[in-house]
């Protein structure tokens, strides 16, 4: 066999491969199109149409059907479920599948037996690793439309994507039929407003039920801050009294002080001054947003949707986090959100900022070494100048905020909704939410007797008072279409600045560039409309600062 023969064969083979590849692409593309599930076309077109109608009919909604009789939210839900079974719409013994993040079944699972005893239907919880895993599975379902899950717990930041992809079912009719008592006309039972509305509504319609109120609070070791020795050392070092920090500059000082003090936790490991989310996984944006808004920053221009995160406020906020990094527990830069809970309750951080559930963890004697040693406060702020006058602007974001959606592809969507209404009702929800888990107090009535006692045990009385103030200063997470992508880019760049891979300015410039590309891809006008609808939800003092800076007219 000559070499030329070998080459000939080889050339021929390559021609065959190349030709085959091109032919394969063409045939494959055609086959791919032909592989569309024709039997689904009619059904899915209906879903799409109903979404369009949803938007169109806003404001001219038909009169609500009479609400089902029942003394309260939970009773109506149970009556509705029984009626569905009695009418044969749902077979007795039917099972609703709930997709939920792993490690926090405690808020739901203990109640399944009650639901089954009362309705003759079952609930099964399917848990998945971390939040990104739930996201992956949920949006795979949006494409595959298998009906594998009936109801899903999602971050409110995913809401826009869940609705636009057709995954989340429009619940407006169920709201009218079963009346979960949302809104100011139900002051005794409604979820805390405006959180209840903006987390569950989209373009004027309800697509979710509230499961949570997630406004960040500053949590601190009150025993350490009150220690007179540390107080005098701190004063001699920084020239002012050691107190719960009011500003992010003070947070840096207090974190530095305690980190350098080199205290040891009970297992001999170092105690760090701070632990604020700065990881690249997904949580770094939560801390950054608090600082950014307190500095008077606005995410997008309300006139043209231009990304405004690389303004001076954005660069300063990033710099604050980069400066804080050396005085934070190292896990803050690389571990997931749960690590903050673990480290704080092990007594390895003095200052932290997280969801309300942190206090439940800290007060749980089974897992915590800092029971009764924690205090809560409104998130620190920044000093900003408005009209020549310096003010202290404080703002706390409401990141994540779990909500419950019903899958558009569920076999029993109405039953799924009714389960949500029941488990989140004032009575059942009080028991469910006060348990250690990721759901947090979200109804007005739970701050008052007869429920208050239950929640004081779970959260401490001081926390309940502070939390009301935090909600008053709170602002929503970014919940427009593409939020996950916007926040992912932001989180990774903030983390890059914290690990010194980028300067604060470069991190924000890069984020702004990415955000512009996302906005262009998703449609600038539509994104602008969505963003504008969120601006009124920011605290009035934040909006005043935006006006003073010329960001808002």
């Amino acid at each position: 066999m000559s070499e030329s023969k070998e080459k000939q064969v080889s050339r021929r083979t390559y021609l065959q491969v190349a030709g085959g590849t091109i032919a394969g692409l063409v045939v494959g593309g055609a086959l791919g199109y032909l592989a569309k599930p024709t039997e689904l076309v009619t059904e899915v077109t209906t879903v799409t149409r109903s979404l369009t109608e949803t938007v169109t009919v806003t404001g001219t909604a038909p009169p609500p059907p009479p609400a089902l009789p029942g003394a309260g939210v939970s009773e109506r839900a149970l009556a509705g479920a029984k009626q569905l079974v009695a009418s044969g719409a749902v077979p007795a013994g039917a099972t609703i599948k709930l997709l939920h993040v792993a490690g926090s079944k405690n808020n739901f699972e203990p109640f399944f037996a009650d639901w089954e005893a009362n309705t003759g239907t079952k609930v099964e919880v399917v848990t998945l690793g971390g939040e990104p895993d739930v996201y992956t599975k949920a949006f795979a379902e949006a494409t595959a439309k298998t009906g594998a899950f009936d109801i899903i717990t999602i971050f409110s930041t995913w809401k826009g994507d869940a609705i636009e992809s057709g995954l989340a079912k429009d619940l407006e009719d169920y709201y009218r039929k079963y009346n979960p008592e949302y809104g100011s006309q139900y002051p005794d039972t409604t979820p805390i407003e405006p959180l209840g509305d903006y987390t569950t509504m989209y373009k004027g319609r309800h697509y979710a039920v509230d499961l949570d109120a997630d406004v960040f609070t500053l949590t601190y070791r009150k025993d350490l801050l009150a220690n007179p020795d540390y107080a005098s050392q701190f004063k001699s070092k920084f020239g002012y009294d050691l107190n719960v920090p009011d500003t992010w500059e003070q947070v840096k000082d207090v974190s530095k002080f305690f980190t350098e003090l080199d205290l040891k936790a009970s297992d001999g490991e170092k105690v760090y001054g701070g632990y604020f989310y700065a990881d690249a996984g997904w949580a770094a944006f939560t801390t950054w947003l608090c600082i950014f808004v307190s500095k008077g920053g606005i995410l997008f221009s309300p006139t043209d949707m231009k990304a405004m995160i690389n303004t001076q406020e954005g660069i300063d906020a990033t710099q604050v986090m980069a400066d804080l990094a050396p005085y934070m527990h190292p896990d803050a830069l690389s571990m997931d959100w749960a690590s903050l809970y673990k480290r704080y309750t092990e007594g390895k951080a003095v200052l932290t900022m997280a969801w309300p559930s942190l206090i439940k963890w800290a007060q749980d004697p089974e897992t915590s070494q800092v029971v009764d040693k924690s205090g809560s406060a409104l998130a620190p702020g920044s000093k900003v100048t408005v009209g020549g006058k310096e003010i202290l602007l404080k703002a706390a974001n409401n990141p994540v905020n779990w909500i419950g959606i019903v899958s558009s592809f569920s076999k029993y969507p109405e039953l799924g909704y009714l389960f949500w209404q029941w488990i989140t009702s004032p009575v059942v929800g009080a028991d469910s939410v006060s348990r250690v888990g990721i759901m947090d107090i979200f109804r007005e009535c739970w701050f008052r007797p007869p429920y208050r006692e239950t929640f004081e045990k779970a959260y401490t009385p001081q926390f309940l008072d502070v939390f009301a103030d935090c909600i008053a200063h709170s602002f929503p997470d970014l919940m427009i279409k593409g939020s996950s992508e916007y926040l992912d880019k932001l989180t990774k760049n903030v983390n890059a600045a914290c690990v010194k891979a980028k300067t604060a300015r470069a991190a924000m410039d890069d984020t702004a560039k990415d955000w512009e590309a996302i906005t262009d891809r998703l449609g600038r006008d539509a994104q602008l409309d969505a963003w504008k609808s969120f601006i009124p939800l920011y605290p009035s003092d934040v909006q005043d600062v935006w006006k003073a800076k010329g960001y808002l007219s």
């Binding site: 491969v17 692409l25 593309g29 569309k36 992956t136 593409g482 760049n493 996302i518």
Partner: protein
């Protein structure tokens, strides 16, 4: 009747048609499983579709070639490709050399050889996710590597924040992969070396060849084909690395500093919902890998001829 049975028996025994017919059900199932998703992927790669579009994928507008052109100008894709190539280029020789060393060690007889052989193979049997999580925890700031290894050896301050440094984080990913997949190399090379006829080795020894020379001129050339196959399999697997990177670094620290191709495609398709572009990128990568693999197996084909 007898005649018909005989004819049928003859046809069954001799004809190619029957052989093909008998494998048809399996072929159909396999091809359906392979072809349909692949065909959908190809179709989507020529469209502009994402789940948030508001319409289903089969209604997606055809975008044509621009999706592929976009990929050629995608810096993040290029970096992911470079990182993946570096990853493959590092793990492959390291795993090969370690596997070869271990195989040579195990060629001799020693006490407990069988037991050690089993233990060495355990990492390979573990799910990638478990390996990723194990190494993630081991290399944490307060993990055993820092506290039980570096601190006692090098002193109190000698702890490393592995996952906040892009290079070190990538090194940890490489270490995890080497730990898990060196046993595969060991297994294949050991099987090959053990099959080399002893008389050839003995003849070389009689002629005065050193162990190194015997390895270089007798053992390795005889197992060359096997080694090439092992390297190709490992390279393809390493190129698709996802789980351990996803678990350990999530592509960080910072902005995608350890992001590899599979993770980038995952982010495109799942996190950013940019499904059709993810399909286009996957298709390009697949074609590139197919061409590289074709080149890699060419020496084997030439030899077979």
């Amino acid at each position: 009747m007898m005649k018909t049975t005989n004819r049928l028996t003859q046809w069954v025994g001799k004809t190619e048609s029957f052989k093909k017919l008998s494998t048809l059900p399996l072929s159909l199932v396999l091809n359906f499983v392979l072809i349909v998703p692949f065909a959908i992927m190809i179709f989507l790669s020529f469209t502009r579709w994402e789940p948030l579009s508001g319409y289903d994928w089969w209604h997606a507008p055809i975008a044509g070639i621009p999706r592929f052109v976009e990929a050629f100008g995608d810096a993040r894709l290029l970096w992911a490709l470079i990182r993946t190539t570096i990853f493959v280029a590092v793990v492959l020789p390291v795993e090969f050399l370690l596997g070869l060393g271990m195989a040579l060690l195990f060629l001799g007889d020693f006490r407990g050889k069988k037991g050690f052989t089993s233990v060495i193979l355990y990492p390979m049997m573990m799910p990638w996710v478990v390996v990723g999580l194990g190494f993630y925890l081991m290399f944490q700031f307060f993990g055993p590597v820092n506290l039980l290894l570096l601190r006692p050896l090098l002193g109190e301050g000698a702890v490393i924040d592995w996952f906040t440094n892009p290079v070190l984080a990538f090194v940890v990913v490489i270490i995890a992969d080497v730990w898990q997949w060196t046993p595969l190399m060991f297994l294949i090379i050991y099987a090959g070396l053990a099959a080399v006829p002893k008389r050839l080795i003995e003849a070389a020894e009689v002629l005065g060849a050193s162990s190194v020379r015997i390895l270089r001129t007798v053992r390795l050339p005889l197992i060359k084909s096997l080694v090439v196959v092992a390297l190709i399999i490992r390279a393809l697997e390493a190129f698709k690395v996802f789980d351990i990177v996803y678990i350990m670094t999530g592509g960080g620290p910072g902005v995608n500093s350890t992001e590899v191709i599979s993770l980038y495609v995952y982010n495109l398709a799942i996190v950013y919902h940019n499904t059709s572009y993810a399909c286009a990128v996957s298709l390009l990568i697949m074609i590139a890998i197919a061409l590289v693999t074709r080149l890699a197996i060419r020496p084997l084909e030439v030899r077979a001829e």
